[in-house]
Amino acid sequence: MVRVAQLTKQVTTGDSTLTILRDVSFSIAAGEAVAVVGASGSGKSTLLGLLAGLDTPTSGSVQVDGQDLFALDEDGRAALRAQMLGFVFQSFNLLPAMTALENVMLPLELAGAPDAAGAARELLGRVGLAARLTHYPKQLSGGEQQRVAIARAFVTKPALLLADEPTGNLDAATGAEIIKLMFELNREQGATLILVTHDAELSQRCGRVLQLVGGVLQ
């Protein structure tokens, strides 16, 4: 599903060059659930951004479902994301001007899918928010916002789900519920899951753990 080869990311600030990822290589099979763990600044989020094609590496390649991400241009990668990828972010990234329902509808609307509202409503029901469809993000609790974000990530039935510290902004109890929900949906849809976390409990639920130390895969 995902094949990463000798991925390196460097950033230049002033006259010093900082290597965030160094020669990272791994493969993930379809249907696998993999946790990427590491301390703050170890390059986890950078790796996730590169896997999603949101950023470009200094060198190396990422193949998703056989396609070389960085052989595509930005719009090509966007099209690939629309087709295959779902996201769950630490800070939820819900759009404040849209209701819960509209936030979940957005990826379907962008894809021009028919009956976006029906699909979104169904999935919001699945994550337990059937009664809060017309609420704005600011009217929802953190846990509820993350449920909306999860519904938005799964509504397009992505083959690959990327999650960036999905419980990072939640208390332990809420975080546990969110994890449970995410794994349930992942099983139902048979998606490949890659999640970045430093939550030990969360990483133990994954089939495999990749540990990053100072940008190098251990």
Binding site: G49, R81, A82, T99, A111, G112
Partner: protein, 835 residues
């Protein structure tokens, strides 16, 4: 997805943004922009039409066709067919007798419906309050004016002999609309019903009768009629509208239009500033949405397309709302104005609404397109790293496009390149100077790290948001400048202009003074203890050749030029140029040291030279009573027609015109009420034509008063636009303020401290804006005074004092009110919203 689906999605996004209040500020800015532009547009459209009509009062109609022979029935028939009101008139000079005396009177024979424009007022007893006539003299009676009554020493009810008829005087005319349009009809007036003309026996071959068909109605019909008439005019026939009327009235109208356009221009500028600020805020609030959409697979082009469609739709809706608001507002305005002035305002045309639409869309897209294009560049990585901010590089492009749009709108609204460039140049220069000045002062002020935590914090805010602060200062400065220009500077300019019409401007002309009467006239004035006014020789001549080319009105397309080519000029000679003339080309003849200049030269009025296509060096040949003479144009002059002094289109040095039939003309100021002098003058010199210009003067001044009122109304809307700018400026930093205030309060700052910090910040912005505004308004006032209004301008201390004080107080107060909400909201709520 097809383009229909794309538009649908854009509209859905628009609806969501609207519902969430993301677009309110932008929409309000566009609505106010369009409302102010359309209010100004609708209103100036109507005022302009009204002014035209008031000017038409001097003509008594919208259009007059006149001829020295009876006009074909087709002239009246065509006018009626076009739906115009038609009246007929005969005018001729004739002796009128009564009480054993005779006087040369101007007979005016009218038909029912006269006058179509302006007012005919009469009274029963001289010097008692008059009333609107509402009709014409009944058949078998005449109305006469004061001049005839006093000269013949008549009482109402006495009879006047006109030709073979004896007709009783049934009323005294106190005001007639078309008496002041030219000087030829200034004799005592006898007005009679046209049905009585035949019985007088005065209409005979060789009678000097002028036949007139007068029409009035809708501007379109009048234009159509004019076109029809122009195609059929025979020699000796003439068509006249207000555009052909006297130069001083034309210049008053031109000036009125300039003042109104100026008011409209400032609304446009303020609206643009408001839209620019609101668009900037929109960009900042939509970075996340763009990142999320990109992350979900929307391409860069698609994101931009969605927002552009969204904004076009927003622009259209806001323009509709703005136009409707403008239409309603100008109605309210017209009702209010209607109670102040007697002139009825005609209905507004649809054009201003279209102008409003174009303005609204141009403003919105001109100032939001660059930020929208920039939205396409938001990196999708922002979903993981919120610190990746707004993409750079579009800033300058935004300003350039905005400036181009504003420049275009200003030029378009000014309708005149020079005025447009002047205002646009002033705007651009003001923004640049304001920005630089603000930048410098903010750096300087931020060094003052002395007193009080609030002040320090307020100033630190200014410095930290330096670019935003500079933008706010520049925008508010330009806004306040517009307000100052429209209040204080406008008032001062108008005052200057009104002052330039001195209260003792000549109000009486004496025409037809014969050479041999000059010594007697001098004696007369000496006996009356009045300084003898300067006499100007006058020769009437027809322009027959320019260089070797024969002059024909058919050679010109311009109405004024055609009429000039057709009529007799008044020529004069002089050694010195008159004080109210300004040489614009060539040289006035040198008479220093008793030098005798060559006599075959002309100095020509600049406007008429341009109308007729005459340049320095051209040789003009004139014909006066059968003898012709030629001279070269050696100088061009601008004439201040507002001075109401005697002025001539053509002046020669002594020696060229003396052999031609000559009479003299003069003007002088007669204090009101000194009518005996006029009577005595007329008794001693029965051939003099005495012309009362007070009436013309009064009408021109009434027009100016009305224009100043109109501009003041328009200014109310500019003020509204200015307030929106202020609000937009505050709102554009609201999110940041909210966050900052929350942090401060979390760290223990009191509300009072934060409020004081905000007030300090806005007071400095206000002071800077006021300073810049006062400087700009003064500079603009100077430019307008010297370039457009042609009066001397001195820098106004009032502008500095009022400008700075008002903008400190106003902007600090508005800033406090606008940011008060930030202090009220609970820090916890803000933290949750912002997380």
């Amino acid at each position: 997805m097809g383009w229909i689906g794309e538009i649908r999605l854009a509209l859905r996004l628009l609806a969501r943004d609207w519902r969430a209040g993301e677009l309110t500020l932008l929409a309000v800015a566009v609505v106010v922009a369009v409302a102010s532009v359309t209010t100004v547009g609708f209103f100036t459209d109507r005022v302009h039409q009204a002014l035209n009509r008031q000017a038409n009062q001097l003509l008594g109609a919208d259009l007059v066709v006149s001829a020295d022979r009876p006009l074909d029935a087709q002239f009246a028939d065509e006018a009626k067919r076009l739906g115009l009101q038609v009246t007929h008139m005969l005018r001729f000079p004739s002796m009128a007798a009564g009480n054993g005396q005779t006087v040369l009177a101007e007979i005016k024979a009218v038909t029912a419906g006269y006058p179509q424009r302006g007012e005919l007022r009469i009274t029963d007893v001289l010097y008692t309050p008059d009333r609107r006539a509402g009709s014409i003299p009944a058949s078998g009676t005449v109305w006469v004016d004061e001049k005839l009554l006093t000269r013949l020493q008549l009482k109402p009810g006495d009879t006047v002999e006109v030709g073979q008829s004896r007709l009783p005087v049934s009323a005294i005319i106190t005001q007639e609309p078309d008496s002041a349009i030219g000087f030829i009809n200034a004799g005592p007036r006898v007005m009679m019903n046209q049905a009585d003309v035949a019985a007088t026996g005065l209409v005979q071959v060789g009678s000097r009768i002028r036949y007139r068909v007068q029409v009035a109605g809708s501007p379109n019909a009048v234009d159509a009629y004019r076109a029809w008439v122009d195609a059929r005019l025979q020699p000796g026939q003439r068509v006249e509208s207000i555009q052909d009327a006297r130069p001083e009235i034309r210049s008053a109208l031109d000036r009125a239009e300039k003042f109104l356009n100026l008011a409209a221009l400032f609304s446009v500028v303020l609206a643009a500033v408001a839209v620019a600020l609101a668009a900037r805020r929109f960009l900042q609030r939509h970075l996340d949405a763009c990142a999320v959409m990109r992350c979900h697979g929307a391409s860069r082009g698609r994101v931009v397309r969605l927002y552009v469609v969204q904004f076009i739709a927003l622009g259209l809706v806001a323009s509709i709302v703005g136009s409707v608001a403008g239409f309603l507002a100008q109605h309210a305005l017209a009702l209010w104005l209607g109670s102040l002035v007697t002139v009825e305002l005609p209905g507004a045309g649809a054009m201003p609404a279209l102008h409003g639409f174009v303005t609204g869309l141009a403003l919105l897209l001109g100032f939001s397109l660059p930020p929208l294009l920039a939205l396409g560049n938001v990196p999708p990585l922002r979903v993981l790293r919120r610190d990746i901010g707004a993409p750079g590089g579009m800033g300058w492009f935004a300003y350039v496009l905005g400036a181009v749009v504003i420049g275009g709108l200003i030029l378009w609204k000014a309708g005149e390149l020079r005025l447009g460039l002047l205002v646009f140049g002033g705007f651009v220069a003001a923004m640049l100077v304001a920005g630089l000045l603000a930048w410098g002062v903010i750096i300087a002020v931020s060094q003052l790290r002395s007193t009080g935590v609030s002040w320090r914090f307020g100033i630190a805010n200014l410095r930290r948001r330096r670019l935003a602060s500079v933008l706010q200062v520049a925008a508010l400065g330009v806004g306040v400048m517009a307000l100052l220009t429209l209040t204080i500077i406008r008032g001062e300019l108008l005052q200057l202009w009104q002052d330039s019409l001195p209260p003792d401007a000549p109000n009486r002309f004496i025409v037809n003074i014969q050479k041999d009467q000059v010594p007697a006239l001098e004696k007369f004035f000496a006996a009356q203890n009045i300084t003898m006014p300067e006499l100007h020789p006058m020769v009437r001549g027809r322009l027959i050749k320019i260089n070797e080319r024969a002059v024909s009105s058919a050679d010109y397309t311009d109405d004024r030029a055609r009429r000039l080519a057709d009529r007799e000029f008044n020529l004069s000679w002089a050694t010195k140029m008159q004080k109210d003339n300004l040489l614009v080309a060539g040289q006035w003849w040198d008479t220093s040291g008793n030098k005798k200049p060559r006599s075959d030269q002309f100095s020509m009025e600049d406007g008429i030279a341009r109308a007729l296509g005459i340049k320095i060096g051209d040789v003009l040949t004139f014909d006066s009573a059968g003898s012709s003479y030629a001279a070269e144009v050696t100088s061009l002059r601008k004439v201040d027609w507002d001075s109401f002094n005697v002025n001539f289109f053509l002046v020669a040095p002594p020696g060229l015109l003396e052999q031609q039939p000559v009479s003299f003309v003069t003007s002088f100021y007669l204090p009101p009420g000194n009518v005996e002098l006029l009577n005595a003058l007329v008794k001693q010199f029965p051939n003099f034509l005495l012309i009362d210009v007070a009436q013309v003067l009064n009408q021109v001044q009434a027009m100016i008063t009305q224009v100043s009122r109109a501009v003041q109304f328009v200014f109310l809307f500019t003020l509204l636009a200015g307030l929106v700018v202020l609000y937009a400026a505050i709102a554009s930093t609201q999110d940041e303020r909210l966050y900052q205030a929350t942090m401060m309060r979390t760290l223990g700052a009191s509300r009072a401290q934060l409020a004081r910090a905000n007030i300090a910040e806005f007071a400095v912005i206000g002071a800077l804006a006021g300073l810049i505004a006062a400087a700009g308004a003064n500079a603009l006032g100077y430019a307008l005074a010297s370039r457009i209004v042609n009066v001397g301008y001195t820098f106004s201390p009032t502008v500095w004092a009022v400008g700075i004080a008002c903008s400190i107080v106003g902007i600090a107060a508005a800033g406090y009110l606008g940011t008060r909400q930030v202090l009220r909201i609970s820090p916890l709520r803000v933290l949750r919203q912002l997380s």
